[in-house]
Amino acid sequence: MSAGPGLAAAPTPRTAPLTRPRDEDLDLLLLIRHFELALLALFSQGLVSGTTHTCLGQEYVPVALYPLLDEADFVFSNHRGHGHYLARHRDPAGLLAEITGRQGAVCHGVGGSQHILRGRYLSTGVQGQSTTAAVGVALHLARTEPGRIAVVHIGDGTWGEGAVYEALNLARLWRLPLLVAVENNGIAQTTDTARQMAGTIAARAAAFGVPAHRYDSRDVNVLREELEPVVRRCGQEREPQVVEFLTHRLGPHSKGDDTRPAEAVERLRAGDWHSAYRDAEPERFTAAEERARGRVARLVRETLDLPPSVWEDR
């Protein structure tokens, strides 16, 4: 259900029952969840260096959205992009190798999870940077592949960057098929939305004449159904759209940097799709989860055994 334009309040945990997900959706949700959890474990075990930004709690967004996309649509992801990558390319091996700098890494270990290019999927590491690049891609698509769209994932914090406004302005002016997917999890690194954003996301979009839609559901089926006309309109009418998902980040920003009080995070966990789907169909869910957990564990073992990645084509 999409809420009408209103104030950007801190989203409240929802406990309403979710409709039954398709097998592939549930499997993908669980793959992403366990991939992220395994990653955090590897970091805390000191087996991976660098940084990572897990999307725990937000996995349903790409799972709901991507079946609506064509192969030829372009997805711009961000630093919190593992879910986006896995949903787009179903390639946990390549992703884990990339993050751990092992052979088979989707980008030979050079970009890491924040800077991945594969087919029509690209993640960027600087807030707002992707929005303008997405404008360029959308322009190309509008001219050469009518009907195709460019999706750009941003967060609530991204709206601090001027590039976002330049991009929206250009997209509306030039009538571009740009879909801005905002995962509004109420927090930008350690800063609550209320302390970094004046006004609302919806009002920002409206300022440029760009239709904005807000969703607070975690139900993959419901979201997909509501997103479908928006995605279609974006591509066919060449009309940029802002789709805002009210969601929660259940993990830290990267690792060890969650400044929220534990109870607050616990409260958010109550609205997690994981428990909702598990409670709705415990047997089915548990079997799927075991499969996912096992798959990820195997992948981790195999990947860590791989030799280091080689960067040749410089």
Binding site: R118, L122, G136, V137, A167, N169
Partner: protein
């Protein structure tokens, strides 16, 4: 040259080259502020483009970052994107999109990704435009992997220049001195009654390097390296140093400033008694200093003195003409510096 042809001005030659690029490549785009006809851009370099190619020549809002990023997005999709900054000074607003996204995308995904993005920057002073419209910011782009810095000169035909840049398939920042726009292109090896030039082959990626010399082509006392924007002032200094001081000087004007191809020039530089690098920007992390350091490394044993560097003064560029001339490099600045160092 027949009587029917008139010496083409640099700005006209640039305009023609842009027409050619858009003509030959149906996937080439041109983005810039106020570039639509009849205005054709602040310096008229885009004249005629929007009329001929209305779908691909976009006059944009004042969004340097936005249009640089959009250009990068087009390049990512395999198109060619030429993005005009109205003044080089404003390229600072586009740095994230050019340096962090476009430049790095060439290699940061673990394999080479072609990115045909050209960011054009009208640069330089001596027109009284003041501190934020007169700078030479080549230094901002030195040393970034995947980023190439080129500069327009009256020796290098612009059609070939664009071919070189596009062949690189990497983001190129092209500096175009504003005063140079109205100066004539040189042809047939002639600068004037005293000075001639030839194009040394250089490297394929860097394009040819112009060598300017007096008609007698005497062994040089000094070799001056300078970007194309300083051509008039450097040639004037070559002339005055010869006629007034009997110093034989030659000049080298490269097309690509960075990466800088020193190797093809080493024999000539090794034969010079002294070497000088002249640039319009200030000292500090500058192109001139980069070249000087490269020369020191390559020719340490052969040099009799350090490479002389001539820069603008470390001050904001004044608007008033008489003050501007004190801050920016003039012909006399070069003449005096070389003469002083010759004593």
């Amino acid at each position: 040259m027949t009587a029917a042809t008139r010496a083409t001005r640099v700005g006209e030659d640039l305009n023609r080259a842009l027409h050619t690029v858009l003509e030959r490549d149906p996937a080439a785009y041109f983005l810039g502020e106020d570039v639509a006809d009849p205005y054709g851009g602040a310096f008229k370099i885009a004249a005629g483009l929007s009329s001929r190619f209305p779908d691909r020549v976009l006059s944009t809002p004042i969004s340097e970052g936005g249009i640089a990023g959009a250009g990068a997005g087009l390049a990512l999709m395999g198109d060619t994107a030429i993005v005009e900054m109205m003044f080089a000074d404003f390229v600072t607003l586009a740095l994230d999109h050019v340096l962090n996204f476009a430049g790095k995308s060439v290699a940061m995904y673990g394999r080479r990704v072609p990115m045909r993005l050209i960011v054009r920057c009208p640069t330089g002073g001596n027109r009284g435009y003041g501190p934020t419209h007169s700078q030479s910011l080549q230094k901002l782009f030195l040393g970034f992997p995947g980023i190439n810095v080129f500069e327009v000169s009256p020796f290098h035909p612009n059609e070939a220049l664009f071919e070189t840049m596009l062949a690189a398939a990497e983001p190129c920042v092209l500096f175009e001195d504003k005063v140079l726009y109205t100066r004539p292109m040189f042809a047939d090896g002639i600068v004037d009654d005293l000075l001639r030039y030839e194009l040394l082959p250089g490297t394929p990626g860097g394009g040819p390097i112009a060598r300017v010399f007096a008609v007698d082509d005497a062994p040089p006392d000094w070799v001056l390296l300078a970007p194309g924007g300083l051509t008039d002032r450097v040639c004037g200094a070559l002339r005055s140093l010869l006629l007034d001081e009997e110093l034989s000087c030659q000049a080298l004007v490269p097309s690509r400033l960075y990466p800088f191809d020193l190797d093809p020039l080493l024999p000539l530089l090794a034969g010079a008694r002294r070497i000088c690098v002249v640039e319009d920007g200030t000292a500090g992390g500058s192109w001139g200093e980069t070249v000087a350091q490269a020369v020191h490394r390559a020719l340490w044993g052969a040099l009799t003195a350090p490479v002389l560097t001539v820069h603008a003064a470390q001050l904001p560029i004044p608007a008033a003409g008489h003050l501007e001339r004190e801050v920016l490099v003039q012909q006399t600045t070069i003449h005096s510096a070389v003469l002083e160092a010759s004593r």
